[in-house]
Symmetry: C2
Subunit: 246 residues, 2 copies
């Protein structure tokens, strides 16, 4: 936990925030901080600041933070479309997405996605949010990705997606054996990027064709084949690197 995320619920007036959950436990047992120690804090979807611990007891820690920096804008914006993976993998995708600054996470149906995954309790906000928070606190980002679930492939790509992204968005599909790396695909840079990561076993040809008709381009992450959770980390890491190119 490299950053403590503070929410409205924690706020008690006087620039003070009361913590009594896993964050308090972490500050007490792992960081072993005491009164007057300082710690990096960030407002949920807001700015970061330095908090000072002004009171600490068994049940509660009070942190005071008098000033927060302006919200950092993360550019390019990155939206991640992910064929809904099984819950075990979804947890990892949620953490990585939040840790590495994804703006929106679209969990979509695909031919090789098992229908039963859409009934997973993990798709409830209260269940998946802790994984996002975990990722944000690790990555030191304050913005929580927006997560939405879409159980119809065609409807999502043909009707929904065109309404929420602009025409200039770079739309990319990591696919093994495509030949072209992101180094060339991303040549002109982009303000907005949408990545479509397929299920284990990959997108089926029909799905690829439909996405390509909508302007998606395929590229290769590397000479190996990665699992979904590794592909997500790898593509976000490669895009981050290419910012340095501009």
């Amino acid at each position: 936990m490299n950053l403590i995320i503070l929410t409205e619920t924690d706020f008690r007036g006087g620039n003070q925030y009361h913590l009594s959950d896993f964050r308090a436990e972490h500050i007490r047992s792992i960081l072993k901080l005491g009164v007057d120690d300082t710690i990096e804090v960030g407002l949920l979807n807001g700015g970061k600041g330095i908090g000072r611990i002004i009171n600490i007891d068994e049940n509660r820690i009070i942190i005071q933070c008098d000033q927060f920096a302006a919200v950092e804008k993360i550019t390019p914006t990155i939206d991640l479309i992910c064929a809904l993976p099984r819950p075990q993998i979804l947890r990892k995708v949620l953490i990585s997405s939040a840790m590495m600054g994804v703006r929106r996470l679209y969990l979509v149906r695909a031919n090789r996605v098992e229908k039963s995954y859409f009934h997973s309790p993990l798709l409830e906000r209260s269940r998946y949010q802790p994984y996002l928070t975990d990722g944000m606190m690790q990555g030191k980002l304050t913005r929580m990705p927006e997560v939405t679930v879409h159980d119809r492939f065609k409807v999502f790509f043909e009707d929904f997606l065109p309404g929420v992204i602009d025409n200039e968005t770079l739309k990319i599909i990591p696919e093994p054996d495509t030949g072209r790396s992101l180094y060339h695909t991303f040549d002109k840079g982009a303000e907005h990027i949408v990545i479509a990561v397929g299920p284990e076993g990959g997108w089926v040809p029909f799905e690829i064709e439909l996405m390509e008709r909508l302007g998606f381009v395929r590229f290769t992450l590397g000479r190996w084949i990665l699992r979904v959770e590794h592909a997500v980390t790898a593509v976000l890491a490669q895009l981050e690197l290419l910012r340095g190119k501009q």
Copy 2:
């Protein structure tokens, strides 16, 4: 499992290989293949080929492969030094290393590594090898990384390492807030690369200084802070991308 790795022990003459372990189970239950079906195979540390299933029963699958391609050379060579993480994370590092083509994995002592980790049973060859095999079968690589354990930091860096790498080797340390990305660090390319990934909490200043004296340079993976397992995937993905630059 995208590639079935065959070993000498499987070989029975007449270009035939007998499988009766998790690979047979995978072919039977997940891939649901039968007699005369073909499957991609690779010799451990050797070439790849197309195998044909010539017999299948409850206990055993017999695969015949008459021809293997030449061994693929992976360039640049990548050696990974990793401050020994706790077993749960080590498993992930083993899988990613094998999946993404690491040649040698050095597990080393560092100030922020708990001594007890060096007594983990996972450091026995028979215990860690399955994770390497898992990674290779996922990544479709036949070469198994060499894993060695080094419980003295200074001895490893000052005495051991200089003896096994050449002078031209690019030596890099991913460190948050260093400013310079791999895009510029890797500017001249390299045939051999050594990466030194620190423990949770990072290398301590003494360790960084010692490595820098030996020619290591620091760089930043991105604007976030990653856990060890994500840092490994991210740096390997970024290096792979930069191959396209040459």
